[in-house]
Amino acid sequence: MASFLQRFGQKRRANKSSAKKQTRQAQATAASVTQSVAQPMDIAPNDPIIAYFLSSPTAVEIDKLQLDSPTLKALKAAHVKLTIPLVSQGELVGLINLGNRLSEQDYSSYDKGLLNSLATQAAPALRVAQMVLEQQAQARERERIEQELKIARLIQQTLLPKELPDLPGWQLTTFYQPARAVGGDFYDFIPYEDGRIGLVVGDVTDKGVPAALVMATTRSILRSSAQADYSPGEVLERANDLLFPDIPPRMFVTCFYAILDPVSGHVVYANAGHDLPYRWLEGEVAELRATGMPLGLMPGMQYEEKETTLTAGESILLYSDGLVEAHNPNRDMFGFPRLITLLGTYEAGEQNAIDYLRDELSTFTGDNWEQEDDITLVTLARSPVPALNDDADQATMHLLENLPANLLELVSQNQDQPRSQELTASSQSNGWHVLQTYQVPSEAGNERLAMAYVSETIRPFHLPERRLEQLGTAVAEATMNAIEHGNHYNPEIPVTLQILSSDQAIAVHISDKGGTDSVPVHEEYEAPDIEAKLAELQSPRGWGLFLIQNMVDEMHVLSNKETHTIELILHLEGDAHVRQNA
């Protein structure tokens, strides 16, 4: 005879499985009187029957009730005779509905009293059961969201670079901290075959798995574009056209793309609506500004391309908006002006720029800050001149200052050159002054770095292209010898380059720690016998010092127990000849 209606309250919805469970419970309590079980039904929040039940939470004979109520109609249609509202803490949590008695007699006052008493007991129990179900549903939802965040984090962390590229002469530092609701930040370093490196930082709008998937797609497109050797503007143009058809609505990607030549410091860059990176040097801060629409918004976009050269000691910062849009407890934003001021006052010391910015952000936001968005920071700093005149390497400075005094052997590359007791261009000699001193790690290929340093330092002299190339080759060969024979490819032992000038000449001193055992210079003075080499009577190698001496006006070699130095001299005016082969 009993039926049970599982619609409880105006705010909650029980799911079907729990409703069935409750139905079973109701059936159990009505064991011997089963006639029919009504289907679960919803009561609209504005149904007047709710107000009626709340005002009179006792057994109601449905046939006698007159209300314009959809629920009442439904109850009548289901042949419900008696309804007992279940009210807990002023809220309707359910109904006990009964059809006709088996005896077809009306329900007695005793029946109603018993049912009212039952309802008083059942309502709070039912409410508790409902709350447990709601909490279980919420827990499942939280678990689902956590799982999604976990997947998003996994995608993101899998695709961020595991290792930083090795860029001698540069310091590359990165920091990535996802917000709890993982955003779509990404950064990447893409090596080109010719030694250049692509630098990427981007941000996908939206969060979670969809953003992570768009980030993964964007990254793949950028990488494949780089392999095809497109310029930064072309890379972004292609990425935009490929992303546009498939990107979910209201989602787009901001992205900065640059290609760095680590030898020259030359950077070409383009920007698809990303926050403008900053460059800074000795208190001066400037933007790397190029315009372009974010990726995925409109097809057929073109991206402005700019280029610049990063000089020694200069740095750039690529970042995502999680930094500048962070808020403090007063809801003030970190903002661009603060970032610019911080970069302008940053002094390179023990703390790198990223740690410095993180500390400043932490001070700004306070201890209890809940991070609002992902934070990505990438800094790239070109090594400052190892300032032997200052304090960078006191040991090397000492070594260079004492070179002439430590002289053990000095050889002149040409018989007609007078032997001297010191290098021609000594920093202590009148008329010579040191322009720059650099150090390069003793690693294969770093002669290109030495060439770039020298070329950059002597740029103000406006030497003819031919002379520059001659000096470049001589510097490269001398540096290769120093790396290989002097320092035995030990990257911990640098090759030192000192560039000096006088009114008449430029000198480059290239020193290694090989001492007297370093380069077999004596064997190399004679012009190699190419006929013997072609006849395979001699090794095809052995051109280095011969090339050096033919590329510069003077070459001197100085060795002592600790140091081996080659001095290259290029006359600035007059007879700017290159020694012809004998």
């Binding site: 860029l167 001698p168 090596p191 294969a444 290929g445 190339e469 060969e477 190419i530 072609l534 082969n581």
Partner: protein
């Protein structure tokens, strides 16, 4: 500093096999350069042209590699030509006297034209 690799490809013209070189000729180029040269040799033509048009750096080890190729060509009675060298590397080929044994042309067209004229 990252090491830059050489890329090489081989084309065959009617009487000349052309080895196009891209990148840098340093110690790291040895394998690729020798393989490309071997591929060019297989056609059996008497003349092999090394196209340096896209080569921007040759160091002393690279010079040694070219000397080795030249020695190999001479042993097999082949002629080796070069084209596309920048003025600086033309000067280096002259200083090293490589140019005494390996004819240098400004570009591929002039090399092939001269070669055809010589043949005729």
């Amino acid at each position: 500093m990252s090491v830059k690799t050489l890329k090489a490809s081989v084309r065959h013209r009617p009487s000349v096999s052309v080895v196009d070189l891209h990148g840098e000729i340093t110690a790291h180029a040895e394998h690729i350069l020798n393989n490309a040269y071997a591929e060019a040799e297989q056609r059996g033509l008497e003349v092999i042209l090394l196209n340096f048009d896209d080569v921007h750096y040759i160091n002393s080890t690279g010079i040694a590699l070219i000397v080795s190729l030249l020695a190999r060509a001479r042993k097999q009675h082949r002629r080796l030509l070069a084209c596309g060298l920048s003025d600086h590397y033309v000067e280096i080929f002259q200083v090293t006297r490589l140019s005494d044994f390996l004819r240098i042309f400004p570009d591929e067209t002039s090399a092939l034209t001269q070669e055809n004229t010589d043949e005729a």
